[in-house]
């Protein structure tokens, strides 16, 4: 140790760096050594401030490197970095001397292999599915015969040509092409803008609003089709109020937009087939319908005519219909006069039969009979009344005989005696009860006396009071103005206003013997309590 202090150390001749010099030296080394690196790692935290630059972490299980993507680069990237994405980034390292940090400036970034890309897509798909964007009930019905078809695709290329050719074959329509880039970094934004733009058109506006949309792109690598996997495209397609057919890539390629579109066509040509029916087939069908209708109508008329003729043949002659009734009328007419005469004469005979016995003599005879009966019954009326009165009076007399006053009196007497005997036993019972209570009371009084403090006084104890209160301690006695001592026979007052020593001493002595007097006053008031103790 002492050597190190005494001798100059070998390193002392090394040049001394300033911090900045060293920082710059490190910068040169790092930027020289790592001027172009490819780095594979997982994207960590990503932040996108307003500036448009993207700051992110690249990490593996042990280390982390800060990275930055400048604004211009970020907009050109094929994929936008998302947290958790496995990527291969190309760039150069720089240092940041001000904070003793280093970072990678990313110039390009690609998903690390197909697996990573597909995993990301699956994640996105699951998220959109969870929102219900793929639900079958969201799918809109396509118009049977759209008037205007909006096509979102590249304006040059085979796709639009295929669509137009197939439309021309089937049913020429008005077509609006919204030109977009169908691959590369601008693809997703342009496609989404086109879908939204078509939806924003107003029907009857300067640019007519389509009633069907086709979003189409030819086949390509998964990277080429990637724009159609972007969330903004899927969301724009889901939000479209115009029915939308997606036709991206070949039959085997399924992109995210296919899940949200109202109908997925395997190819652009197929999209055109789905979009419109075949015109000449429709014409044929229409002709067929027309012919069937005409035939049905003429058939209906013909069959009705036939039926009419058949029914007409079955109709009887009108004259024949009247023959029968007319004959009946004739016959009835012939019988009418004779029938009237017969009726009148039959009634006349009946009248003469009935009116024969009706004469004044007959009435007089009946009158005579009635007055005879009256004369017979009239005299018996008064005697009948008298007899009835007599009969009722007899019945009254018989009942009056049976009414006996003595029997009632006997009953009254018997009950009075019974009342007296009960009254006696009641007073007797009362007396006995009172006596028992008096005995019990006397016993309790005796008990109280023996237990009372006054009995204790007889045995030589005394009770001391000061200013009216019971004094049980010397302290109380010293405080009290005057003491009153209660003996067996009387009370004696000691001192008057000031407690002297001679007076306080007996007072002190007495409380010493006071355990007995102390409880004593209580029994005076609470003798029932003491009684219950026994």
């Amino acid at each position: 140790m002492s050597d190190l202090i005494d001798d100059p150390s070998p390193g002392l001749n090394d040049p001394e760096f300033s911090v900045t010099e060293l920082s710059n030296a490190i910068k040169r080394v790092i930027e020289g050594e790592f001027g172009h690196v490819r780095i594979r790692g997982e994207v960590g935290r990503v932040s996108r401030p307003r500036s448009g630059h993207v700051y992110l972490d690249l990490k593996d299980d042990k280390s982390v490197i800060n990275g930055v993507i400048w604004k211009g680069v970020a907009s050109r990237l094929q994929i936008q970095p998302e947290e958790g994405m496995e990527v291969v980034a190309t760039g150069r390292l720089t240092t940041f001397g001000g904070q003793s940090r280093y970072q990678i400036v990313i110039e390009d970034m690609k998903p690390a292999g197909m697996g990573a890309l597909m995993a990301m897509l699956e994640k996105r798909k699951a998220a959109l599915a969870a929102e219900g964007l793929f639900a079958p009930e969201r799918k809109k019905k396509l118009p049977y015969l759209p008037e205007i078809i909006g096509v979102v695709t590249s304006p040059s290329g085979a796709v639009i040509r295929d669509i137009l050719h197939r439309l021309r074959d089937r049913f020429p329509r008005k077509v609006l092409i919204w030109p977009v880039a169908v691959q590369g970094d601008r693809c997703a934004a342009e496609v989404a803008n086109a879908i939204n733009g078509f939806n924003a058109l107003e029907s009857g506006g300067r640019i007519p609003r389509p009633d069907l949309l086709i979003v189409a792109r030819g086949g390509g690598s998964i990277e080429d089709l990637w724009g159609f996997n972007e969330e903004i495209v899927a969301r724009a397609a889901a939000a479209s109020t115009i029915p939308l057919i997606s036709a991206v890539g070949h039959e085997t390629d399924t992109t995210l937009i296919d899940y949200v579109s109202d109908r997925r066509a395997p190819t652009p040509t197929a999209a055109a087939e789905i979009a419109v029916p075949v015109r000449h087939e429709l014409l044929a069908t229409l002709e067929g319908q027309g012919a069937r209708m005409a035939q049905a109508l003429s058939l209906g008329v013909a069959s009705r005519g036939q039926r009419l003729r058949d029914l007409a043949r079955a109709l009887p002659r009108p004259e024949g219909l009247l023959d029968g009734p007319r004959q009946r009328l004739d016959r009835a007419g012939e019988r009418l006069p004779a029938a009237l005469q017969t009726g009148v004469s039959r009634r006349r005979v009946h009248l003469s039969e009935v009116s024969g016995p009706l004469r004044p003599n007959m009435l007089r005879a009946r009158l005579g009979q009635a007055s005879q009966r009256l004369a017979l019954h009239g005299p018996r009326l008064a005697s009948g009344l008298t007899r009835a009165i007599e009969r009722k009076r007899d019945a009254l007399d018989r009942r009056t005989d049976r009414l006996d006053i003595e029997r009632v009196e006997r009953e009254v007497k018997r009950r009075r005696e019974r009342f007296r005997s009960i009254e006696y036993s009641l007073s007797e019972a009362g007396r006995r009860q009172t006596m028992a209570w008096r005995d019990h009371l006397t016993a309790l009084a005796r008990l109280r006396d023996t237990l009372g403090y006054k009995a204790t006084l007889k045995r030589g104890y005394a009770v001391v009071r000061g200013d009216g209160d019971l004094v049980t301690t010397a302290k109380q006695a010293a405080k009290a103005g005057a003491l009153e001592i209660q003996f067996q026979d009387a009370r004696l007052t000691v001192g008057d206003g000031t407690a002297s020593k001679a007076e306080s001493q007996p007072a002190q002595k007495k409380p010493a013997r006071k355990p007995a007097p102390k409880p004593a006053p209580k029994p005076k008031k609470d003798s029932p309590d003491q009684g219950s103790l026994f």
Partner: protein, 80 residues
Amino acid sequence: MSDRPVSEMTFEEAMAELEQVVGQLERGDVALDDSIKLYERGAELKKRCETKLKEAEEKVAAITLDGEGNPAGLTPVEGL
């Protein structure tokens, strides 16, 4: 038979009703007066469909966009 004016119908609606009319006429369970009315309606529907089918005109236009990606106008597209 709906009361909707035929001239307001889409091709699909007119076609569907025409099929219905034909079916009713073919079943033959419509009164004669009604069947004639039905036939007239059917003829009207058929005419509407034919008109729609004749409107089979191809017209292709591309939307021109302004600098912000908003539609600015239409240019006819030919030769595709």
